[in-house]
């Protein structure tokens, strides 16, 4: 497995790029492992990577029913941010933001992190006060946040609709300057390559169908490629967490909902930042290829379908046009959907499950991608040391029983509203 560098690009370029080695192996499953991770998305691969790198646990398999990074890791809108203010969230998401800093160097794989800034546009005095409070709490936690009034934001984002006929008048915007985007596929590929290099087996086309039990304890998984025994089984299957947890006899505070994303035909640089519309649930950024990446609201009813319906297409595109009228004639290139674990408080669940032998990272709602490094790091710590990492300690399953929900959005136990 070669080290990637400018020199290796030059060398391979001179030989016609004929001698690149595989980025990771394609091993057959062994009969048993120390840890089996179900789901080769960002979170599962990051967990395997940090298990090997930080804790020396290398006898690990990552099982994937489809192809690596083909779930929500490859379906999100690539935004990374940490504009959180509730205790439990702040430290965790800021750890993730700090980990993004060196991720490309750490993985020796360019995740194309772009700290282009994340604007949240607001449209009423009430919204302004809410965001000012958020900005102040973030500043108190050492997370940089800035605040702009209408005149300032007209200079910074001149292409928004400031006309008297705008659907919602723009009062100003909140900015997290360190937020931005990263290349989502590269995150999965980088973690896969890094984990594989340290001896982790990544086994694709291998669906987990059930668990192997020994006296009330999970000791492995039944798969479409035969039984695989493991001392510890980890679920990293966001979207399908309830489905696999149910086979272990667990019922979780999760509903699965479908979320769509869109990309337009490419155009010259227009949207330099990530912009979130405060008038409806809508966010937009521009990819390095030039396509505008659009995201909107959930379809709004339980679904495992990985495809979205037209009402939300219409809603998202209406929002896009209401915020940036000049893009109204762009054509959509692609539209797709992923299925989210929506939890009852909008926050994730990381840690050991009440069933012996089972760990979980799930319940990532809209926000799993940006959390990938911290989720993998904290879960690996939890698995290796048998106790929760301080930064993810609040994300227990038991918090619901004890009334410690982490409800950042304040929507209550309504997953479709989170």
């Amino acid at each position: 497995m070669s080290h990637y560098s400018a020199l290796s690009i030059l060398g391979h370029g001179l030989t016609g790029n004929r001698y690149w080695s595989r980025a990771w192996r394609d091993p057959a499953p062994k009969p048993s492992y120390d840890v089996v991770i179900v789901g080769a998305g960002g979170h599962g691969l990051a967990t395997a990577y940090y298990l090997a790198k930080e804790h020396g646990i290398r006898n690990v398999a990552v099982l994937e029913k489809g192809w690596l990074g083909g779930g929500n890791t490859g379906r999100n809108t690539t935004i990374v941010r940490s504009n959180y203010m509730i205790p439990g969230n702040s430290a965790f998401y800021d750890r993730s933001m700090r980990m993004w800093d060196n991720l490309s160097q750490d993985l020796n794989y360019n995740v194309m992190l772009s700290r282009r800034g994340y604007y949240y546009v607001f449209h009423s005095p009430g919204q302004a006060e809410g965001l000012r409070r958020r900005a102040n709490v973030m500043l108190g936690n050492g997370i940089k946040a800035e605040f702009f009034d209408r005149a300032q934001i007209m200079k910074r984002l001149p292409f928004l609709d400031y006309s008297p006929t705008a659907r919602f008048p723009i009062f100003g915007a909140f900015l997290q300057p360190r937020a931005g985007t990263a290349r989502h596929d590269a995150v999965a590929w980088g973690y896969a390559r890094g984990a594989d290099k340290q001896g982790v087996d990544i086994i694709q086309q291998c669906e987990v169908t059930n668990y192997i039990w020994d006296n009330q304890k999970i000791v492995g998984v039944e798969t479409t490629r035969g039984p695989i025994r493991a001392k510890k089984v980890v679920l990293a299957v966001a979207g399908h967490t309830s489905h696999l947890a149910a086979k272990a006899g667990l019922r979780l505070p999760i509903e699965t909902h479908v979320l769509q994303a869109f990309v337009t035909e490419p155009l010259k640089p227009l949207v330099d930042n990530v912009i979130v519309y405060g008038g409806a649930h809508f966010y937009i950024s521009q990819s390095d290829k030039g396509g505008l990446v659009l995201g909107g609201d959930l379809d709004g009813f339980n679904s495992y379908a990985q495809r979205g319906g037209l009402p939300i297409v219409e809603h998202t595109l209406q929002s896009a046009k209401a915020l940036i009228p000049s893009i109204s004639r762009l054509r959509l290139l692609r539209q797709w959907a992923g299925v989210m674990d929506m939890t009852m408080d909008g926050s994730p669940i990381i840690g050991k499950m009440p069933v012996e032998g089972l760990w979980l990272t799930g319940g990532w709602n809209y926000g799993g991608f940006k959390a990938t490094p911290a989720s993998g790091y904290c879960l690996a710590w939890t698995i290796a040391k048998g106790e929760p990492h301080p930064d993810s300690a609040a994300f227990t399953l038991e918090r619901f029983e004890r009334g410690y929900q982490i409800d950042e959005f304040g929507a209550g136990p309504y997953p479709k509203a989170q």
Binding site: H240, R251, Y304, M344, P413
Partner: protein, 88 residues
């Protein structure tokens, strides 16, 4: 676009409806003192990948709450009934 059969109005577009919640969840007895029962009622859902009974409100139609039997994986709808007839 889902096409939802309303027991009153017939087959209508999804946009006329507002999604409610899992229709198999039942309010516990008000004298129930076990916190676990209330925890399960408020937070815990089966979230099946397959047939699911769910409340929809025909808010832009007859304004009735209905229970729709729908597959969450294929979006196939098997039938519907007025919620007050199902919940009773």
């Amino acid at each position: 676009m889902l096409r939802i059969p309303c027991p009153v109005c017939g087959l209508r577009d999804e946009t006329e409806f507002s999604y409610g919640a899992d229709a198999t969840v039942r309010l516990p007895d008000m004298n129930e003192a076990d916190p676990k029962v209330w925890h399960d009622y408020v937070f815990i859902r089966d979230n099946p990948r397959g047939p699911h009974k769910e409340y929809w409100h025909h808010v832009s139609g007859c304004r009735q709450w209905i229970v729709v039997h729908r597959d969450t994986l294929t979006h196939e709808i098997f039938g519907s009934a007025l919620a007050r007839e199902v919940a009773a």
